[in-house]
């Protein structure tokens, strides 16, 4: 198994390497190939010693929307209901196996009773956010290198460098990005990078009343997330797109897209 994975990673490296060499030969040498791991943050925080992910336990989410609300407060996301770094969706599958999904105002003000209550076969809430993909399509398409994956595995946007072409918004399969109406640059969840680098939890995790969200190290440390990955069956959103999300869901229904 380990060998197979290694082989796959190796093959991918070769494929990616060849592709970028071909493309690079068009535009000449670039400094990006220098992969120096110099410290850019405060000396107290060492990005190379972390690799973050988030677990979302569907069967614990009560759809209160506190996460989406806290996210907007913590990150100054415009309050208008067109811009979300995280939101909650409600799935109602009725007895005809028809799927009804809604997310009024991103779930920030909770949910009204569903219209189809009599026929509910099963129903649940699904919190959504940027999946901080290990193989992020948004980073792949950004023409200028304004969105990137950090050493600790978080996908960020450089607000002072983004040209606002919105190719990344088109490339994100999860609808996790939007164009900030004032900054005119792409914007998205940062895992509350300003909090986690200080040892705090992301705001959505901090306020979740049922611990439906579990934040932590994704690589072999004893942490709540690690335990979740050990004890539960883990699914990710749209695995067929090979984006390799680092937001891991438990009890994820097959209807969720």
């Amino acid at each position: 198994m380990g060998d197979k994975l290694k082989r796959r990673a190796f093959v991918r490296k070769i494929v990616e390497g060849t592709a970028s060499v071909v493309m690079l030969s068009v535009c000449g040498p670039m400094r990006s190939l220098v992969g120096a791991s110099e410290e850019a943050e405060a000396p107290a925080y060492d990005a190379t010693k972390h690799y973050y992910g988030m677990g979302v336990q569907i069967d614990k989410c009560i759809g209160c929307g506190r996460c989406a609300d806290a996210c907007k407060s913590e990150n100054n996301v415009p309050r208008e209901p067109f811009y979300f770094r995280t939101w909650v969706e409600r799935y109602v599958i009725d007895n005809e196996r028809e799927v009804h999904v809604d997310s009024p105002g991103g779930g920030i003000h909770g949910f009204p009773p569903p219209a189809t209550e009599e026929d509910v076969l099963r129903s649940f809430f699904v919190p959504k956010l940027c999946n901080h993909c290990d193989h992020p399509p948004c980073v792949q398409v950004c023409p200028v290198g304004a969105t990137f994956k950090t050493q600790d595995g978080v996908v960020l946007v450089d607000q002072d460098y983004c040209v606002g072409c919105r190719y990344c918004i088109q490339a994100c399969p999860y609808g996790a990005r939007y164009l900030h109406p004032e900054k005119h640059t792409a914007d998205k969840c940062t895992f509350c990078y300003h909090r986690i680098t200080k040892g705090m939890l992301p705001a959505c995790v901090e306020v979740c009343p049922t611990q439906a969200r579990v934040f932590g190290e994704i690589k072999g440390r004893s942490s709540p997330l690690h335990r979740l990955m050990k004890m539960e069956e883990i699914q990710v959103l749209k695995p067929e797109l090979n984006t390799e999300p680092k937001v891991l869901y438990t009890k994820l229904d097959g209807e969720v897209r």
Binding site: S32, Y45, P114, T147, Y193, E206
Partner: protein
């Protein structure tokens, strides 16, 4: 558009002039290099200069930290990591409000962060506790509690929910429940202390009036050493048949339930459900029924 037409005539005149005058013997500078003719050298030089200038300018304008860690500006990271905090974290609240925190830690809201209800408190807890504008809010209205506790079929079974119109309508929740220690009004604390999720599911089900012990004979030692002294579970269809088989009483009381208050669904045990046991189709803690 007239120039389109005019062009033809004018150039005719021009060219005839030239034809008369012939090629004037002006000295021409020829830049040809070997077999490369003059004009190719000229255009080549222009292109090389243009490309050279573009490459030189490009080096000059690339941001300084670009490429240090990857194909991006490394300097963007400290900017993002330096964003302003709004949520302080419950540990910070506990530094001053130890009593409330301790009380909360012993109750059903133990997993709840202070700021889930009181809102972002960094400015109050860290920046300036005396700033009254930053003082966190205390939500006292019923609607706020109902954000989590109103009944929705999408919520996980077992999560405490009320049907708003049936549960003391219009009364503020805080009248009866202390938000820092909201005691659940469960009927059998001994069981629900550990099996709260099942107890709460059952509490809003058709089996709400049945005691846990009715179906699960429980040795007293279970409370001290639960795994070694498991409660019993029903083993056959006849057990459920005590109430649900045809021919069982429809009036009076049965297993402590007053039958005049509800109609119990009855089935023919011999034919209903083939060889399946009852709980293979029905969930006894929340059985669907008429």
């Amino acid at each position: 558009m007239s120039f389109l037409r005019g062009r033809l005539g004018r150039s005719k005149v021009d060219s005839s002039k030239q034809a008369v005058g012939g090629n004037s013997p002006v000295k021409k500078r020829n830049l040809s290099i070997g077999k490369v003719p003059d004009q190719a050298v000229r255009i080549g030089t222009v292109f090389i200069l243009a490309i050279g200038a573009a490459v030189a300018l490009r080096q000059h304008f690339i941001p300084e930290s670009f490429g240090e860690l990857g194909h991006y500006r490394a300097n963007a990271i400290p900017v993002i990591a330096g964003a302003k905090l709004h949520y302080a974290g419950w540990q910070k609240c506990g530094e001053c409000h130890e009593d409330q925190l301790n009380k909360k830690m012993g109750g059903f809201h133990k997993a709840l962060s202070c700021e889930t209800c009181h809102g972002p408190a960094y400015d109050h807890a860290v920046v300036d506790p005396t700033d009254t504008e930053a003082t966190p809010k205390i939500p006292r209205n019923r609607e706020f509690c109902l954000t989590c506790h109103s009944y929705l079929p999408s919520r996980p079974t077992g999560f405490p929910q009320i049907i708003e119109l049936q549960h003391n309508p219009m009364e503020p929740c805080v009248k009866c429940h202390n938000p820092h220690d909201p005691a659940a009004q469960a009927e059998a604390p001994a069981c629900s202390g550990c099996h709260g999720e099942i107890a709460r599911t059952k509490a809003i089900s058709h089996h709400s009036l049945l005691r846990c012990e009715t179906c699960h004979a429980t040795p007293p030692e279970h409370k001290e050493n639960p795994r070694q002294n498991l409660p019993k579970k029903p083993t056959n269809r006849e057990f459920c048949g005590q109430c649900h088989a045809e021919g069982t009483p429809t009036s009076g009381t049965l297993l402590g339930v007053d039958l005049s208050t509800r109609e119990i669904p009855k089935v023919d045990l011999a034919t209903h459900g083939n060889t399946y046991l009852c709980w293979q189709c029905h969930y006894p803690h929340d059985p669907e029924g008429k």
